[in-house]
């Protein structure tokens, strides 16, 4: 295999046997045995109910496990073993190579600082000249469809709607040309129109820049639209790794199909809505069987 081909196929992020547990002796396990990898230009979705361990997995994968937890497992960043990197190097890799999109865009802005402070934060941290930082901020905001990007950069966060703020967050996540974009429920706090815009922008960014994407959502429909590979999680474990094609064809684990089915659609009464309860029981039976074996 040539060096170029090998570099292209090296995953930007590779996670093997990730375990996260609460700190302290006998700390409860939060996620267990999680493995996946994200190639350049590919999107992997972590999907599951609330509390299934998606966000914990995402944070641990990029080296920022939540406070009070301990993570273990083999994690490689662009082929380099994360364990071999010291804290400063890991932090540098994260700042240079990862763009982050958060669930609540209003909460990630310092209310006392203009939005350019957030968008240009990583560039300034990298020591890029202020004139170039300003130019790239305006270009990134314009690219996200923010009207009057030069003026918008100077405004405080409360001058924008939730949808606009999330687009500004995306601008901040892409402005330093990262290799990996991680998004934790980026559409949950948004109205339908803003959700569609954000999804479109994420798709465009991925296609145009060949970005690797790790996408956390409880919305399986959204994952079907955006992802190449879907990791379905339940109670801190992987139920299955599948593709949108297989899921759409109904060729998937009953729990994944149940998740897909229990979505509210017009003209369907609430008591007719299927739930994932039966599938959960099936999962429980499976884990007991594995434990017994």
């Amino acid at each position: 295999m040539s060096e170029v081909t090998q570099r292209a196929s090296t995953p930007v992020l590779s996670v093997e046997g990730l375990n996260v547990r609460l700190a302290g002796r006998g700390g409860r396990s939060l996620v267990e045995g999680i493995s996946f990898s994200v190639q350049p230009g590919r999107c992997v979705g972590l999907v599951g109910e609330s509390g299934s361990g998606k966000s914990v997995t995402l944070r641990a994968a990029i080296g920022v496990a939540p406070e009070g937890t301990v993570a273990s497992g083999d994690i490689d960043y662009s082929g380099e073993d994360a364990e071999g990197m010291d804290r400063a190097r890991r932090s540098q890799w994260r700042a240079q190579s990862v763009g982050m999109i958060f669930q609540d865009p209003k909460a990630v802005f310092d209310p006392t600082r203009p939005v350019h402070d957030f968008v240009g934060a990583v560039l300034r941290q990298q020591g890029v000249a202020e004139q170039e930082v300003r130019g790239r901020i305006v270009a990134a905001l314009g690219d996200m469809g923010i009207p009057d990007p030069a003026g918008a950069a100077e405004r405080l966060p409360d001058a924008f709607s939730g949808g606009q703020l999330q687009r500004i967050v995306i601008a901040g996540a892409l402005v330093h040309h990262p290799k990996l974009l991680v998004a934790d429920e980026p559409t949950t706090a948004l109205d339908t129109l803003s959700q569609a815009r954000v999804v479109h922008l994420l798709q465009r960014a991925r296609e145009e820049r060949g970005l690797a994407m790790l996408f956390v959502t409880h919305n399986l429909e959204l994952a079907l639209t955006l992802c190449d590979e879907i990791v379905v999680m339940h109670a801190g474990r992987i139920v299955e790794r599948t593709t949108p094609q297989l899921l759409r064809a109904g060729n998937a684990h009953p729990y994944s199909l149940a998740l897909l089915a229990c979505r509210p659609v017009p003209d369907r009464k609430l008591d007719e809505l299927p739930t994932a309860d039966a599938a959960r029981e099936l999962l429980l039976a499976e884990s007991e069987f594995e434990g017994g074996a």
Binding site: A95, V108, D110
Partner: protein, 289 residues
């Protein structure tokens, strides 16, 4: 096609009263208090220009003159002009609390930052330091300082500033703990920002209101403490004009039926403390302290 008529309704209800709004305050008491403090600072800064007489020039033949005899507030037992002494006295009276509040705020906020940022054991140590200082009476510390370093504004103010550290530190710590947990701080940490730029650019500006409110309230209390120290003869030394010294020195004249020196200085202390407390109280309400 007929277009339905629409009526523009103002969302702002006109209640028929014109409200005075100044420095962000809407209530008259707070505005009067803020204006009083501004006037006081200006008067003390330009005391040399405003004061009609030299505050230390004594003339025993003019001792204990009443206000209506030519001097605005009359004269003291040494024949010095009380109004001029009140104006000049404001300088030393405000200097002591200023030293106390600045030192206490710098130390208290720094310790609070350490505790809130690092949490765990560091926070425990910081909290115990605050608790430890709280049990020491401020006046006792000031007396100890004068016993070691001698009487004067600076040693007593420095000693009292230690006693004031927990008052600003504990409140700032709780405000900072809330602020540190906010997602924008996590986002900055994830982006590789180190502690110092996050403290100076984001955390402190966001709790600045809380700090200023507490500083204002503490200033009032520190002024009373410093006046008490001067009253005991351990702070500002005569013949320098100081409100605490004036209350103390006017005692004998007060018993002889000439209350103006003690009264003028006492009222000045009372009004200043009241004004600081009122402004501090409104700031606390605004910043939800």
């Amino acid at each position: 096609m007929t277009v339905p008529k629409t009526t523009m309704v103002s969302l702002h209800r006109f209640d028929g009263r014109r409200r005075l709004r100044l420095f962000g305050f809407e209530d008259t008491t707070a505005i009067i208090a803020a204006l009083f403090l501004i006037l006081l600072v200006l008067a003390s800064a330009f005391a040399a220009v405003i004061a009609p007489y030299d505050p230390n020039a004594s003339n025993l033949s003019d001792a204990n003159l009443p206000p209506w005899a030519g001097n605005i507030l009359g004269t003291d037992a040494s024949g010095r002009d009380i109004f001029s002494r009140v104006l000049f006295g404001a300088q030393s009276t405000l200097l002591g609390p200023l030293i106390i509040v600045v030192i206490a705020t710098v130390l208290g906020v720094f310790l609070a930052l350490l505790g809130a940022w690092f949490g765990g054991r560091v926070d425990n140590v910081v909290s115990r330091v605050f608790d430890g200082i709280m049990v020491l009476p401020g006046l006792l510390l000031a007396l100890l300082a004068t016993a070691i370093f001698g009487a004067g504004v600076v040693p007593t103010a420095i000693a009292l500033s230690i006693a004031y550290v927990p008052y600003i530190g504990r409140l700032t710590r709780s405000a900072l703990i809330n602020e540190v947990r906010r997602p924008y701080i996590s986002a900055l940490r994830l982006n590789g920002f180190s502690a110092l730029p996050i403290w100076t650019r984001h955390l402190l500006p966001n709790i600045g209101g809380v700090i200023i409110a507490q500083m204002t309230v503490n200033f009032g209390y520190a002024l009373v403490d410093m006046a008490a120290i001067s009253f005991l003869g351990l702070g500002v030394q005569p013949p320098q004009a100081d409100w605490g010294v004036m209350v103390s020195q006017g005692q004998s004249a007060l018993l002889r039926g000439f209350p103006m020196e003690s009264l003028a200085a006492g009222v000045a202390i009372l009004l200043t403390v009241l004004a600081f407390n009122t402004v501090g109280d409104r700031l606390e309400r605004r910043f939800h302290v």
